[in-house]
Structure formats: C-alpha cells, structure tokens
C-alpha cells in the first residue's frame, strides 16, 4: 500500500516536471491575479493594505481551483484512471496521493511566494508571517475539498467552470478564517491563534473525509 502511494505520488510529480511550466504557471497565475487588482482599484497604500489579505486568499482559491480541474482529467482521458480503479489498492489512498502531489505542486509554491505579494500590498512583517502560516494550513484544505468537485465533474463539457460553481461556495469558511487571521494579526500576532485552531480542524476533517468522498465520486463518474 505504501509503495502504491509513493508510486502515484512520484508519477504525478514526474509528469509535472516533464512539463516544467506546469508548476510555474499556477504560481504565475496567482501572482498575476494579485497584481491585477491595483490596476482596477488604484494604488493607495492604505487601501491596498486593507485589501491585501482578502485579495491574496481569493487569488489562492482561484489558482488552486484552476489547477484542480486537471487533477483527474488527464488520467480520465487517457484511460489510466480506469486502470487505477481496477488495481487492488484502496482507491481513496491513491486519491490522497494524487491530492498530495497536487498540493506540493500548486499549493506550496503559493505559500512560498506569499512574502513577495505581501510586500506589494504593504503588509507588515508579522502579517506576512501569519499569512504564510495560514496559507500553509489552509491550501491543503482547498485541494482536498476541490478533489471532490473535480471527481464529480470529470469528463463533463465545461467542467472547469462547473467545478468552480460547485466548490467555491464550500471554500468560504477557509477564506473567512484565512483572511481573518491575517487581518487580526495587525492588532497582535497572538490574536490569530483561534483562527489557526479552526483552520487546523478543517484540515483534519477534510483529510479524513475528502479522500473517501472523492473516491466514491470517481466510481460514480466512471460508471
């Protein structure tokens, strides 16, 4: 079982590395969306500082969601997903491996680039640190929840946008507490502690249930 998990993980990472752009594009998308706002909103320092956390989180949400669309799609189209269903491994384990790979390739880079973005929006150093932490705990939740939607919309025309319709509402709690933690940290960094407890709880819950739900959804979609 462990070997199967690792094998899928390695496979997905290799695939992404073959097309090296894959990793970079999510990142660039995130950066571009965040950088677009000042064009639309104006570039006053106070305004941007207030907007910062919200914009970063919304952009992270969108980036994660966009990349999710392809989470199972490629495997579905070339028939490898069918084959994954027919192996002797528990499907939810394989799903977890795929989600982990996905997060390593799209979520983690976003966390790492956050300081740069924070600077664009004149955030303080504590705020930037809190933002990185919040993203670190929050983005895996996004990937896990998103996997359910990706599995459900597999192979449907216009799937990408349907997917966003289905899962963006489910992302709201993460968005609220993720952005909240950063905003509150401007008072004192410790203020954001309860936010992190909640984000952590979301992570644990989604780790437990999302792979099962995604596996069930995949079985349905491939019927």
């Amino acid at each position: 079982m462990g070997r199967a998990f690792l094998s899928i993980l390695r496979r997905d990472i290799t695939l992404a590395m073959r097309r090296r752009t894959d990793v970079l594009t999510t990142l660039f998308f995130f950066v571009i969306v965040v950088s677009l706002f000042p064009f639309g909103v104006g570039s006053e320092r106070e305004v941007l500082r207030m907007l910062g956390p919200g914009v970063v989180w919304v952009a992270a949400l969108l980036a994660s969601m966009l990349a999710l669309e392809r989470l199972f799609a490629a495997d579905y189209e070339d028939g490898t997903l069918e084959q994954l269903l027919l192996t002797r491994q528990p499907l939810s384990l394989l799903v977890l491996a795929k989600v982990l790979a996905h997060w390593l390739l799209t979520g983690l880079p976003v966390v790492l680039i956050a300081p740069l973005i924070g600077m664009q929006y004149y955030l303080s150093e504590t705020a930037i640190l809190v933002m990185m932490l919040a993203l670190l705990v929050g983005t895996p939740v996004l990937s896990l929840i998103g996997a359910i939607g990706a599995a459900l919309t597999l192979g449907l025309r216009g799937g990408g946008i349907l997917l966003s319709l289905l899962i963006l509402p489910l992302y709201v709690p993460v968005l609220v507490y993720g952005a909240g933690a950063v905003t509150v940290s401007s008072v004192a960094a410790t203020e954001s502690q309860p936010y992190f407890y909640l984000l952590g709880a979301f992570l644990v819950l989604s780790l437990m249930f999302a792979p099962l739900a995604s596996a069930a959804a995949l079985r349905i979609s491939l019927e």
């Binding site: 070997r3 199967a4 094998s7 899928i8 496979r11 290799t14 695939l15 073959r18 097309r19 490629a74 495997d75 189209e77 070339d78 028939g79 490898t80 069918e82 084959q83 994954l84 269903l85 027919l86 192996t87 002797r88 491994q89 528990p90 394989l94 491939l222 019927e223």
Partner: protein
C-alpha cells in the same frame, strides 16, 4: 470460475441484452462477437465491475464481484478502447507504475524484456506521446507480458497493430489460456484464435 447469471444491461434508454448467462472454467477463451453497437464493450465493462448492470449477478469463484471489490481486481486485467498509458511518461515508466499498482515487485530488467518482447526496442525511453498509434498500443499491451492476473478482459486488442504485433499478441493469449488462465475478448478482425477451449458468445441477435 466466472459465472454470469441472468445479466441485463442498459445504456441510455435502450436495453442491450438481458437474461445473459454463462459459466467459464479455467483454460477457456471466450470470444464475444456482435455487430457495431451490440453491447460488447458494455458487457466487458460490466464484467470488470466498472459498470453496474441493471439486473443479474456476476460471480467470481462463487462470490458476487461487488462483494469482492478490490480482491477481484487482483485477479483481473482489463484492456479497453483507451490505452491507459500516460503520454508524457516513457514506455518503461508507464509499465513500472502499472506493475507497482498491481502489487507486483518487478525488476527493471523484466520491464525492459517485456518491452523488447513487444517490439519496442529503441523506443522504451521516448515519451509515449511521440509514438505512433500502433506503438502506443504495444506499450499498453506490454502489461500482458508481466501480468499475473487470471482473467484477461480485452476489448478489441488487435486494432492498429501490424501483422507482427498481431501474431505476438495471439501467442501471448494462447500461452495464458494454455496455462489455465481465462480470457475474454472482442475483435472484428479475422484473427485465427488457437487456444485451449474457445467459446463464442453472440450479442445483438435479438436486435
């Protein structure tokens, strides 16, 4: 070993077949025949458990395959209309992953040998995206060389293959069946099948 009881399948709003029943023992090759759209692919997918039949039951060693779940998957190998290989991985990598997921620990040498056997010498290291239609199919079929599954379910495995490859695949199937395996296949091509016991199943006669 494989027992099909009173099976009925429906796609869309058409019922493709009903009250289908047969039993296969070891060393049998079942050739499912029928014209385009008669339900061959549907039957094969149902036999894999990928598709829930409308009625009836499929039993493996006397147990319903839905109860067996992943245990049943250990014993079968399905080859569908899609090749099930990743275009960005090389033939070797594709084969290694397939073997790992099947739970077999295979040495790299065996992988090379399997690909060589399929006539892919010199192409093992290319991303399969760069292969021709028939070469892709050969990569996918290399799984058969390594497989330890008892039941092979092959949906039109001969398309896009040239003469050499067809002959090779025939030998593979024959060896498998002679060794007590079971094979179920469909094909429209005139391919002489020469294995242990050959049975034929004709679909779509009621249509």
């Amino acid at each position: 070993m494989l027992q099909v009881v009173d099976l009925a399948c429906r796609r869309g709003d058409r019922r493709l077949f009903s009250a289908l029943g047969f039993e296969l023992g070891p060393g049998v090759l079942l050739h499912v025949r029928g014209r385009n759209g008669s339900g061959k692919t549907t039957l094969l997918r149902a036999l894999c458990g990928l598709l829930l039949p409308e009625e009836g039951e499929i039993r493996w060693h006397g147990e319903d395959i839905r109860q067996l779940g992943d245990e049943y998957h250990r014993d079968i190998l399905y080859f569908g209309h899609l090749n099930g290989i990743k275009a960005d991985l090389t033939g070797l990598e594709n084969l290694r992953i397939a073997a790992t997921l099947d739970g077999d620990r295979v040495a790299t040498e065996d992988l090379w040998r399997a690909l060589e056997r399929m006539g892919l010498m010199g192409f093992e290291d290319l991303p399969t995206r760069m292969l021709s239609q028939g070469q892709k199919k050969r990569v996918a079929l290399a799984r058969l060389v390594l497989s330890s599954a008892t039941l092979w379910i092959l949906d039109e495995p001969f398309t896009a293959l040239d003469k050499d490859a067809v002959a090779l695949l025939q030998t593979l199937i024959a060896n498998h069946v002679d060794a007590g395996g079971l094979a179920i296949l469909t094909t429209h091509q005139e391919v002489p099948l020469t294995s242990g016991r050959i049975e034929r199943l004709d679909l779509g006669t009621e249509h």
